[in-house]
Amino acid sequence: MPTPRLQVTTARKEFPGVIALDGVSLTLAPGEVLAVVGENGAGKSTLMKIVAGVYQADAGEVLLDGQPIHFAGPGDAVAAGVILIHQELNLAENLTVLDNLFLGREVTTGGGLRVLNRRVMAERAAELLKRVGLPADRISARVESLPPGEKQLVEIARALGTDVRVLIMDEPTSSLTQRETETLYEVIAALKAANVSVLYISHRLAEVKQCADRVVVLRDGRNAGELAKADITHDNLVRLMVGRDLKQFYPKTHKATGDGKPVLTLQNVRYRGGPDIPASFEVRAGEILGMAGLVGAGRTELSEAVFGVRPVTAGEILLNGEPLRVGSPADAIEAGVLLVPEDRRLHGLVLAESVGFNISLPNLAQISSRFGVRRSEEAELHKKWIERLRVKTPSAAQPVGLLSGGNQQKVVYGKWLARGPKVLILDEPTRGVDVGAKAEIYALIDELAGNGVAVWMITSDMEELLGMSDRVVVMHEGRIAGELRGGLTEEAVMRLATGGTAT
Amino acid sequence: MFPALRLSVVLGLALVLASLPACSKKSEKIKIGVVTNCTAEFWSLAEAGANKAAQEADVELQFRQLEKDFDASAQMPIIDSWVKQGVGGIAVSVIDPKNQTEDLTRIAKKVPLITMDNDADQTGRLCYIGIDNYEAGKAVGRLVKKSLPKGGTVAIFIGSTKSANGKARTQGVLDELAGQKDATGTAAAHPTNADLKGKQFGQFFLVDGEAKEDGSPNNAQPLAAAVLARVKGLPDVCLVGLYAYNPPAILEEARSKSMLKDVKIIGFDEAWVTLKGIADGEIVATVVQDPFMYGYKSVEALAAKAKGDDSKLVKEPIPYRVVTKDGGPDETVNGMVVKFPKVADFEAKLRADLASVKK
């Protein structure tokens, strides 16, 4: 057996109050694609961060090509060819794509002066962008002007530009469109051919099946098992991850008859900075309306207009038949129209603050007297929602930024559910959420619909869309391209999403 | 990119600037510039006097109270811009005579220049308008002696110990207390409170052995409070404030510490609060300079000079006056007649002077 590219033996890492890793081992052969999966808090991220030099292990060993390594920081790891593509994007958005591709390893002349050699960098950048399937004109674009999917590809291109030996991808496809995901698979195949080893973290089981040679499953900071390529099935994975069989992933116990009363109605709505074509559709009580479309089709923007973030310039929004004026999110929240945003770290949560702080935030009026917040009532509120949503947190005082993605998402639900929503707008409700938490969130959404809440679910996850929706509206380039009920298929959705017409 | 927007922006800004008050006056009148060493009530009186003279002589006046207190480097750009505009004369309250001499000499060659309030005599200025600060300091010293006939404890407060007027005033007080010229005092601890260090000048113990310098009106009150706390309980205490804002600061702190009855306060200049303090018997007296006259005479002299008339240039120091509650007869000191006006009369005259001109 040749020397493994990467070997981790009995790695252990303890944080105050939590044992994140309790003796995890794995090996990665040169040119192998190894998927690492596991539930919330299973220790995947910690493991990746140890390999990439962000954390130092308390015990255990990491060998790179047979040599023990001790990275003092991410800089050392990058120098050694171990590159982590983070779940949260790590690009300097104020710089151009070119600058980001070469950040930290610019091609320079003039010795210590380090004068940039733009010509050489531009040539190499063009090559890198081609490899990840981005158009060459993106080189001089500022990263902040790119859609999320393209940003992700820029990060991957950046990794390709280095002398990469081990590439770690944490949820790389979470913001990619279908086509971009295909490109990513090609890139991974090319890397494999070039003998680069890839550690691949994903919650999308279809993806794992498609591109991994082998799967390592973690549970509660320990190795839970391994699956060879041939054995990777949905059921096998889920069993290893949660340690039991999941009966039903997409519960759908609520009965959407399709003739519920329309709760939210959009009539020829246009909003500032939006497309010229007005949007009209409705969400009924007790139904889950799925909204599909490619990244950039204008779904998020439309939801933001309804939530009062973007000023509505024409048309009318009706709530239970009454005209609803939303000048600001406060108006929408007051009316019971609540948004679980796409980027929870930016719009959904105050990351540095505690779980309790975030749950209380939109509910302060209810739990305050004129002498301030009633502490006991607040504690009650925290307890209720942390238990009800099964948020895994040591206490309500834990900074929410330290929770895993799935638990963060639950906190976002918690802060809204306490208000008793009429309309719940979910924008990518399970992005960055692992399989166990996903099932819980689906059950929750199902329950809400069952209680009569009108749910408007924007999603790019086809399985989720098909599994959860009672009805699907598809957007394409800013307009409503069509509506599908019953007999939902991926082909039908994609045809509308790419500009075709419903049959 | 958006030419129309940019154009409208530029036009809009130009309009705003043009419509602000005090638009550039396109007059043929002679212009006179007066610049002070700080912004203070004292200078508002001078400004009133200057305005009066400007009306009488039919000249255009630019009176600038310096925004940055006692900053010579802020004063020079203002003077320079006047020289460039071709003004008919400039009056300046010099901040740092020694170091400003070179620039002022250059200016004096181009434009008629007079100094007021604080002199720089090596610059070739036409004349100096102001009191003799050393003599005025001695007058303060005499007031201290009169208030504490058996001697006692004295603290002196001043804005700057480095400016020429500050140096001269302080030395005048100390010389008078010690009864000798260029008195330096002898280091000593306080006769009854050994913790208090200072210097002995004749029968008087000076707290900390030097004038307490605050550097800015904002610091005057805290400084007064600190010294008051240290002299609390001592008999025969006299507090002296040598810049216009010092006596009000001392008065306010003495009042807040209920020490008004225990200390004598002697002031300088005619802040309204100081005058009221005298009328109420809380302040013994104040030595006043007559800033109204500084402003008036500066503009009068420069306006006449610009018309070729040298006769209005001031040759003698302006006499200082001593304001007390009940007033008193004139005295002659070193050949100069010193008036002792009653505070009520003095204040009435001051208000009349101010009212006589529109600001």
Binding site: E93, L95, L103, G104 | V10, P21, S24, I95
Partner: protein, 325 residues
């Protein structure tokens, strides 16, 4: 590009208003004295802007200017040759920057706090060093320094060695040279990329293998060294410097210049050209109020309102350009 449009427009308006406000205002000698002040403020603006670009703030600039000016005078009083005193003062500034930078990066203290404390400390140092100092008083004690001081003044300020008349805007020329250097590093070298990246996202820079702490320290050193240089210039230009108020609140002028010039206080934005343009605004405005003969009482209002309107307009232009992008 749109980031400097606003300040460019503001300058055009101010210069036009200045030149039409008085027949003498547009003459070269007035424009030279305005340029000289612009140069002096511009140099500290460069430092402040660099610090802002890396996401920090330096409130100690004014105090360092004052302290350096006083130190420069004191050194010469103590018998240090003027030509030797200049590098010593700049070295002092660099040391201040090293201290600020180390406290901020090593102990992870907030830049606002560290430099606010620095503001008090260095103002205090200035007072401890001495009260009022000027060229004339130095020359009085050391007549042999007269020629070197005059030479320095001629070269760095542009004042005639004999009578002190301002003949060319040396400080502005110095600013252009320094801005050229800053621009070169900012826009043409890898270091500039690091500074922008650090200012926008420290983590992104760190994950790209940039030594964030070292770059930050370097920037603080540059900023304080420029402030020290400005202290030398102030001493050479002013009749005298007083420890209490030399350079007082200039850090605010520097930050104002940087922000007007397109630096975002959030970090990661700014250009060398913008810094120079931003720093040019205030001196023109001051010359304008001097020439208009505004009453003392309205001057602060005029200055404040003009800057505010300029900032509002600038923001409007930027929002427009964003929508149309």
């Amino acid at each position: 590009m749109t980031r400097i449009l606003g300040v460019l427009g503001l300058l055009v308006v101010l210069y036009t208003t200045l030149i039409t406000s008085h027949p003498k205002a547009g003459e070269p000698d007035n424009l030279i004295s305005v340029a000289n002040l612009q140069g002096r403020f511009g140099i500290i603006t460069l430092g402040a802007a660099l610090v802002i670009i890396v996401g920090g703030i330096d409130l100690s600039i004014g105090a360092v200017v004052g302290c350096s000016a006083v130190l420069f005078g004191v050194l010469m009083n103590k018998g240090v040759h003027p030509f030797a005193a200049v590098p010593i003062v700049i070295l002092f500034g660099a040391t201040v920057g090293l201290t600020n930078g180390s406290l901020i990066t090593r102990l992870k203290l907030q830049p606002f706090l560290v430099t606010l404390c620095g503001m008090f400390v260095f103002r205090g140092f200035a007072r401890l060093l001495g009260g009022t100092l000027g060229q004339a008083s130095v020359i009085e004690g050391h007549p042999e320094y007269k020629d070197p001081i005059r030479t320095l003044r001629h070269l760095l300020i542009g004042k005639d060695p004999i009578d002190g008349e301002l003949i060319f805007p040396a400080q502005f020329i110095l600013l252009i040279v320094l801005a050229g250097l800053v621009g070169f590093f900012l826009h043409r070298t890898a270091y500039g990329r690091y500074w922008y990246a650090i200012g926008h996202s420290e983590l992104a820079a760190k994950y790209a293998g940039v030594n964030v702490s070292r770059q930050r320290v370097v920037i603080y050193v540059v900023c304080s060294a420029l402030a020290a240089l400005t202290g030398v210039l102030l001493f050479l230009d002013a009749p005298s410097v007083q420890s209490d108020n030399a350079g007082f609140s200039w850090e605010l002028y520097a930050i104002l210049g940087a922000v007007l010039g397109g630096c975002s206080l959030r970090g990661g934005e700014g250009t060398a050209v913008g810094m120079v343009l931003g720093a040019m605004v205030l001196p023109v405005l001051e010359s304008l109020v001097n020439f208009r003969g505004d009453a003392s009482d309205v001057i602060p209002v005029v200055i404040g309102l003009t800057l505010l309107i300029g900032a509002i307009v600038d923001e409007l232009i930027r929002q427009r350009s964003r929508i149309h992008r």
